[in-house]
């Protein structure tokens, strides 16, 4: 039951990642995906294996790592903005086939 919102969140994240053009929006979509997976871990732990804490711990680690990822990603976005003066990915296309 609780898996449905997490799957919807994950789907929204993937959809946003593919369709959004703003780098900040893409980052938000990615966060949505990471957080939906955390819900998955906690739900599996709580309802299938209530006698252990593995899933909860994994969710904690995943949250911490997601925070680190966001920090690095934002730093990179700021760098790109400083050089290119834009955060729109459809205009950041110097490297391509």
């Amino acid at each position: 039951m609780y898996l449905i919102p997490s799957l919807i969140m994950f789907g929204c994240g993937v959809f946003g990642f593919i369709t959004r053009k703003n780098m900040i929006a893409i980052l938000i979509s990615l966060e949505l995906m990471l957080n939906s997976v955390d819900i998955n871990f906690v739900v599996f732990n709580r309802f299938l294996y209530p006698d252990q804490l593995n899933g909860m711990f994994f969710a904690l680690f995943a949250i911490a790592i997601a925070a680190a990822e966001t920090a690095v990603a934002i730093a990179i976005i700021i760098n790109v903005y400083r050089v290119a003066k834009k955060v729109d990915i459809s205009e950041i296309t110097k490297l391509k086939f």
Partner: protein, 486 residues
């Protein structure tokens, strides 16, 4: 807490010591000594590499999360050799005008990513594997953005970062399904708990894990970041990404697939890998043909090489594991040889396209010679190591005695012939084209020379000195319990 368990991880601890010394040097030494930091790091890492060749005790630490065995020890030693070559190539670059301010960070981040890769190789628990993977890939995004004065560097970092986060989210989704099925993260427990639960959820879990790690290895449906990142990132980082990062991910991938998902080998992931390998080798080759920029060209070549590395995994036997490790070792030397030449020329002239290399033999015979044997080795021409590594990978795959795999090896063989064409295009540009060369006669730094000589020696010797292969084979035989489930 039992502190004696740290004794089985001397390689990790040694690496941390190197990292701390470099960090202290960077922080506390006066400015006039800072210029020696790259040399200091390389020398220290060289010592540590020698130290890491001493055998370690096998065993498990941290409640079975971390495993040290002959195979992980050999893999880490191989990664160390590659890292040493990367460091040698980057000394001169790290002292260049725009990078010099931050050269300390460059080395610290590089050493930390290597630490993450060691965790990944040794991980026997999904949690440690995930942490190792992220430790390895997060600093790499920062490293890709290292040349602040180059716009391309930032674009490459942004692309790498987004695909890395996306892939790790998918990997996590796969892991959460595995947890839902088996209720543990420990590989051994998972293997027995997954047993014969052939459910749709398990197939989805395998697919997501393969996709997540496939991003790291740049296997084909997940390869789109590779060329852009390789082209935009600084050459030292590109060479690191293409060999060390790929090698460690391949080993960890092998362990997860055979140990955790071993029971669904024939039904599920064999066929996934089957399709992925065909796509990877073919598409990597076809796109490499049309590249003019050498870094992009090597990116596509490394995509197709990753397909050959996967052949060692699809074999799922000790011979496959041996040939995979051997392939990674040879690939480190050949690819780094090519990157050493590109880095040396790019540093002094900023020229990276194949047309710039026309007639290189006349102005820089030694650079052209190193590039030539690196290309021959990548293509797999007999006296060089690349031939033997391809041969063993094919032999390992053929040992499965399965008609489908025979066809796969045949396709891979045909692709080797296609790859000859584009590798030889570079050689042709250097030796046969008679145009006036736009690259003047260059004088390489001693560190670059040492790196190139080591690579050239590796390419020539590793294939001929057969005891290396025999040794790796013995190492893989000791880990044959990995393949119990196949």
């Amino acid at each position: 807490m039992d502190y004696s368990q740290f004794l089985i991880m001397p390689q990790e601890i040694g690496l941390l010591v190197v990292f701390l010394l470099v960090f202290l040097y960077d922080t506390f030494m006066p400015d006039r000594c800072q210029k020696a930091l790259p040399t200091f790091t390389t020398a220290l890492f060289g010592l540590y590499t020698v130290f890491s060749f001493f055998p370690v005790h096998s065993g498990m630490a941290f409640a079975g999360m971390f495993e040290s065995s002959d195979a992980t020890w050999a893999m880490k030693a191989i990664l160390n050799v590659g890292m040493l070559l990367v460091l040698l190539q980057s000394i001169k670059w790290a002292n260049s005008e725009f990078v010099a301010v931050r050269r300390g960070e460059f080395y610290e981040l590089l050493l930390l990513t290597l630490f993450g890769m060691f965790l990944m190789v040794s991980a026997r628990n999904m949690l440690l594997f995930y942490i190792g993977l992220e430790t390895a890939s997060l600093p790499l995004a920062a490293l890709a953005a290292f040349e602040k004065n180059h716009y391309e560097s930032h674009e490459a970092a942004a692309k790498y970062m987004f695909t890395a986060i996306f892939s790790s989210a998918i990997l996590l989704l796969g892991m959460s399904f595995v947890y839902g099925l088996a209720g543990s993260f420990d590989y051994n427990v998972l293997a027995s708990a997954l047993g014969d639960k052939h459910s749709a959820l398990l197939i989805a879990a395998v697919a997501f894990v393969v996709a997540g790690v496939g991003f790291k290895l740049s296997l084909v449906p997940f390869h789109l970041w590779t060329a852009d990142v390789y082209q935009g990132a600084p050459t030292a980082v590109t060479s690191y990404l293409s060999v060390i990062s790929k090698g460690s991910a391949a080993f960890a991938f092998l362990v997860i697939l055979v140990q955790v998902f071993g029971t669904v080998y024939a039904d599920v992931w064999k066929w996934m890998l089957y399709a992925i390998i065909i796509l990877t080798i073919t598409i990597g080759n076809l796109f490499a043909v049309r590249q003019r920029n050498l870094k992009r060209f090597l990116a596509f070549s490394s995509i197709s090489q990753a397909g050959y590395i996967m052949l060692g995994i699809i074999a799922a036997n000790t011979l496959g594991m041996t040939s995979m490790m051997y392939y990674i070792l040879v690939y480190i030397f050949s690819n780094l040889g090519a990157f050493a030449v590109i880095a040396a020329i790019e540093r002094q002239t900023d020229k990276v396209t194949i047309d710039d290399y026309n007639g290189l033999f006349k102005t820089n015979p030694w650079l052209a010679f190193t590039m030539m044997i690196a290309m021959f080795s990548l293509a797999g021409i007999p006296p060089f190591a690349g031939f033997f590594s391809k041969f063993f990978v094919f032999a390992g795959a053929l040992k499965t005695a399965d008609t489908a795999v025979y066809i796969l090896v045949l396709i891979a063989l045909i692709n080797t012939i296609i790859s000859l064409y584009y590798y030889l295009l570079v050689v042709k540009a250097m030796f046969i084209r008679q145009d006036e060369c736009s690259i003047p006669t260059l004088k390489s730094h001693w560190s670059e020379k040492t790196g190139m000589i080591l690579c050239a020696m590796g390419i020539i010797l590793i294939g001929l000195v057969s005891c290396i292969y025999t040794f790796l084979n013995g190492v893989a035989e000791n880990s044959s319990s990995l393949f119990n489930l196949i």
